[in-house]
């Protein structure tokens, strides 16, 4: 298999002088091991996948073509197909590929040789050990629904006719499990956990098993909550979920198109003063750190909210042009389509306290244990939030009864003002965020209890 930048340049050679062309080429090698029933490998997948995406811009019109193959008969026609697609788009001065902006690339080494060097038997053993550890963790564990080891080695090259040439490599390995726990009434509760690292050596089998089982046991005896407005305590993984929704509303594309309640509010107080949030893909501690973005520009720290004040948005070159500002190096893309701006590695500045301290200080609260329905219950345009929730009620500083079949609802713009505590307990999330625990006021907990 040839060198990716070379392949990308060969495809780019099909560009004519009258057009701007960008070529993104990617390759990924994946291994997935699913274990079930102790000694049985349920399935083992090992495969290499390829992708090529081409964008042609001519006269302010853009066309895209992509293919999941490096075969010559497929790749050869891509530039012509994208060019033909461009004919039917309407001209827009914002459209274009990225021009080099002089921002220096911060090298981020995201590759761990152990992904390739670890034998398949050792990878299978990790998944088996995880299942065994989960089963052994507590007599109330009735079974393990999934125990999965997965890893991916990916390489990407982006070149364009304005002189962009970027290439990245990355590895990621993960372990995840979902366990079934017998409830007091004969029913079943579930608990899940995931760990991710750059390579298998960084994974902690015992931690994943214990977390998953603990999360299941914590919900034993849970019933529907009574409707109310408790303080809502989010451990870092849920803080990451909620803040990621907010960061999604700060995408430059949404601003340009009037699809976010935060448009036109730069410089205003949009959140509690405790909140400082920024995107920083140059932080090598983040699992989604990256040297360059989806258009080949250097990734860089992007301030979003500082002490509650909205500082700016995440831009790729198109959304930047729309607002008359430069790209913030925040283009995300897959080879299947054009770039869109978004966050990669969300960070929150630590304040004080941690999860235990927050629980101890609250008279009437809810410690969240799971959130359901985020895809259907969050409207980033209107700002309405309504999700299913499981958790443990907090009464007078102590964890009290667990609840399930509850709903949490509120308005996102209001909710960011109502963040009453930001912890110092920063935790690196599998999805790339590095954030602490949060406490939020003003949300409605609904239930049939």
């Amino acid at each position: 298999m040839g060198d990716l930048p070379e392949l990308a340049r060969a495809i780019l050679a099909g560009a004519t002088d009258a057009e701007s062309v960008e070529v993104c080429v990617g390759r990924a090698v994946e291994t997935t091991v699913r274990v079930h029933g102790g000694v049985v490998v349920e399935s083992l997948t090992t495969a290499e996948s390829h992708g090529v995406g081409v964008r042609v811009v001519v006269g302010g019109r853009e066309g895209v073509a992509h293919a999941g193959s490096f075969d010559a008969d497929v790749v050869d026609g891509l530039v012509a197909e994208a060019r033909d697609n461009a004919v039917f788009a309407e001209p827009d001065e914002r459209v274009g590929i990225a021009a080099p902006d002089g921002v220096a690339v911060v090298p981020v080494d995201r590759s761990d040789d152990s992904v390739a060097a670890t034998s398949i038997d050792d990878k299978i053993a990790l998944a088996r050990d995880l299942e065994a550890a989960a089963l052994a963790a507590d007599p109330r564990v009735r079974g393990v629904r999934t125990a999965i080891y997965g890893d991916t080695r990916s390489e990407t090259a982006i070149v364009n006719t304005l002189g962009i040439a970027a290439s990245t490599t990355a590895t990621v390995a993960s372990l995840s499990t979902s366990v079934l726990v017998d409830d007091i009434d004969g029913g079943t509760r579930t608990g899940g956990a995931v760990d991710a690292a750059r390579g298998p050596a960084g994974l902690d089998v015992a931690k994943v098993a214990d977390l998953a089982v603990g999360r299941g046991l914590q919900l034993l005896g849970a019933g529907p909550p009574a409707t109310g407005r408790p303080l809502v305590v989010l451990e870092p993984r849920f803080a990451a979920t909620v803040l990621s929704i907010i960061a999604g509303m700060l995408s430059g594309e949404r601003v340009v198109k009037g699809r976010t309640p935060f448009a036109d509010r730069v410089g205003e107080e949009v959140a509690a003063g405790l909140l400082t949030m920024f995107d920083d893909p140059t932080d090598a501690d983040s699992l989604t750190a990256a040297a360059t973005d989806g258009e080949g520009l250097a990734c860089r720290p992007v301030p979003l909210i500082t002490d509650g004040i909205l500082r700016g948005f995440l831009h790729d070159s198109r959304s930047g042009r729309g607002l008359g500002v430069a790209s913030t190096g925040s283009a995300l893309r897959s080879v299947r389509g054009g770039p869109t701006p978004g966050h990669r590695s969300l960070h929150v500045a630590p304040r004080s306290g941690d999860l235990d301290a927050f629980v101890g200080d609250i008279d009437d609260g809810l410690l969240v244990a799971s959130l359901q329905g985020l895809h259907s219950g969050v409207n980033a345009v209107s700002g309405d939030l309504s999700v299913g929730v499981e958790g443990v009620m907090i009464r007078n500083g102590e964890l009290a009864e667990p609840i399930r079949e509850g709903t949490l609802a509120g308005a996102i713009p209001r909710m960011v003002h109502d963040i009453v505590s930001v912890g110092a307990d920063l935790e690196r999330q599998p999805g790339g965020a590095i954030v602490p625990s949060l406490v939020i006021d003003g949300l409605t907990l609904g239930g049939g209890g």
């Binding site: 066309g63 197909e81 009735r142 079943t188 299913g388």
Partner: protein, 463 residues
């Protein structure tokens, strides 16, 4: 797509080191899409994905490999990788010969989308944009999407099966943003069928655009949704998602086999009120979840899952069915050649009842009427599920009154099935959906008549 000799050699290579079952799945999918946003046709995209997935089963172990290289060498490499993954220890050469079986029934497509000029597709977008904006100046943003795909598949396995299908799907959607004193609101309308460009003989994109705009405008005046448990009436076509989540996933045999379903071991039992008959039907011609053969080469089936409230059967794929010594129900599906098949729904629906929909509303003192549902999610092991309502109203004193803001509904599958106390006679299919399971998305359809659940928890902000 590949010749029979190469199929036989590939299956032979897959079983060279032993194993009971080998399968080659070849896919060639072309897709095209066009997006109009912010008043402009922004982007046309063409895609091509082609490759083969090979699986080898040894005992309870499945080895899987896929390749984009359909040459003899590429397929041999993938076959060896899959065999190695399955760790067959038996050895010995096994000859495999496949024969064409039934199921090779190309779907009737009157107007192949690939024969339609791009300009014609683009015209649909601009028509929808103009129609939506014509609903009033409060419509501040419109996105219209057109998409089509043609997916040719070939499945061959060591049981001698060889089957092919040619699946053409066409879809269109419009999303609107309305801006008012109370902020921004959204409205959406979509259609998708397993047919060609003739979709637009029946689907009027301007009409769809006006309905999407109307939804967004209506919601500008929406009140906060109530919170807590109350009766919920779901309108025709809208309720499919409810059953898809409340029990559909729990009736998938792979989850049942792992005891990861609340419906495990309950065949023959009354699991729902006698008003409920739930069917999964991949044979419904033209529906979004329709196909001639599933992704394991089995003909699509019409499967009654719940009849008059009694659980009659689960849905099956090849592997789970083989273990039980029965036939697959034609529910083995996969997102692409890069994925392993598993048990998936197709078109899932509740058949008509006998109630007059107007009476169902009139008989509800206070509750919520859901005209359009969004997506949903379920934990099959507990049965707890949520789904979103994207157009909903209050019911007060037996009448539909004010619109309410978006939110999720939450319930427990087995509980909800026993709380369905009215099923209307106005069956309709709902919007096309993409069902996600273990990271794989497949097109699914659903439908219901108007129905009422006596108690569901509504996730609003109003106490």
């Amino acid at each position: 797509m590949i010749d029979r000799d190469l199929i036989n050699r590939t299956l032979g290579a897959a079983l060279r080191t032993g194993g009971e079952f080998a399968e080659v799945f070849v896919e060639d999918k072309r897709s095209s899409s066009a997006v109009l946003d912010d008043g402009r046709v922004e982007e046309l995209t063409s895609g091509r994905n082609r490759g083969a997935g090979i699986r080898v089963v040894v005992g309870d172990t499945t080895g899987f490999a896929h390749t984009a290289d359909l040459s003899a060498a590429g397929l041999a490499g993938a076959a060896e990788a899959a065999a190695a993954a399955a760790r067959g220890g038996g050895g010995g050469v096994r000859e495999v010969s496949v024969d064409r079986v039934d199921g090779s029934r190309p779907m009737p497509v009157r107007i192949p989308p690939e024969d339609v000029a791009k300009a014609t597709k683009v015209d649909l977008l601009t028509m929808a944009d103009a129609a939506a904006r014509g609903e009033g100046s409060a419509i501040s943003q419109v996105t219209a999407r057109y998409g089509d795909s043609r997916r040719r598949i070939l499945v061959a396995n060591s049981d001698g099966l060889l089957a092919e299908d040619d699946q053409v799907r066409t879809m269109f959607s419009v999303s609107c943003v309305a801006t008012g004193d109370t902020g921004l609101q959204t409205g959406r309308e979509s259609t998708g069928r397993t047919i060609g460009f003739e979709l637009f003989d029946e689907a009027d994109v301007e009409d769809m655009a006006r309905r999407a705009a109307g939804r967004a405008l209506t919601k500008l005046g929406a009140r906060p949704a109530p919170s807590g448990a109350m009766p919920v009436v779901v309108g025709p076509g809208g309720g499919g998602v409810l059953f898809h989540e409340a029990c559909g996933h729990g009736l998938e045999a792979d989850l049942v086999a792992k005891s990861a379903s609340v419906f495990a071991g309950r065949v023959g039992e009354q699991v729902a009120t006698a008003l409920v008959t739930l069917i999964d039907d991949g044979t419904m011609a033209g529906e979004w979840g329709h196909f001639a053969i599933d992704d394991e080469g089995r003909p699509a089936g019409h499967n009654v899952l719940i009849r008059d409230g009694i659980l009659t059967d689960y849905m099956w794929d090849h592997l789970r069915a083989r273990k039980e010594g029965r036939r697959s129900s034609g529910n083995g599906r996969r997102q692409s050649y890069q994925h392993l098949p598993m048990v998936r729904m197709t078109n899932t629906f509740i058949s008509n009842g006998s109630d007059d929909p107007a009476d169902i509303v009139a008989g509800t003192e206070r509750g919520v009427y859901v005209a359009q549902l969004g997506g949903g999610q379920v934990n099959t092991a507990t049965g707890d599920f949520v789904f979103g309502m994207t157009e909903a109203y209050l019911i007060e004193h037996g009448e539909i009154t004010e619109p309410i803001r978006e939110g999720n509904l939450i319930g427990n599958g087995p509980d909800v099935l026993t709380r369905i106390d009215a099923v209307g006679n106005d069956f309709a299919m709902g919007s096309p959906g993409t069902c996600g399971k273990d990271g794989q998305g497949v097109p699914v359809g659903d439908g219901t008549p108007t129905l009422r659940v006596t108690s569901l928890t509504v996730g609003g902000t109003a106490a």
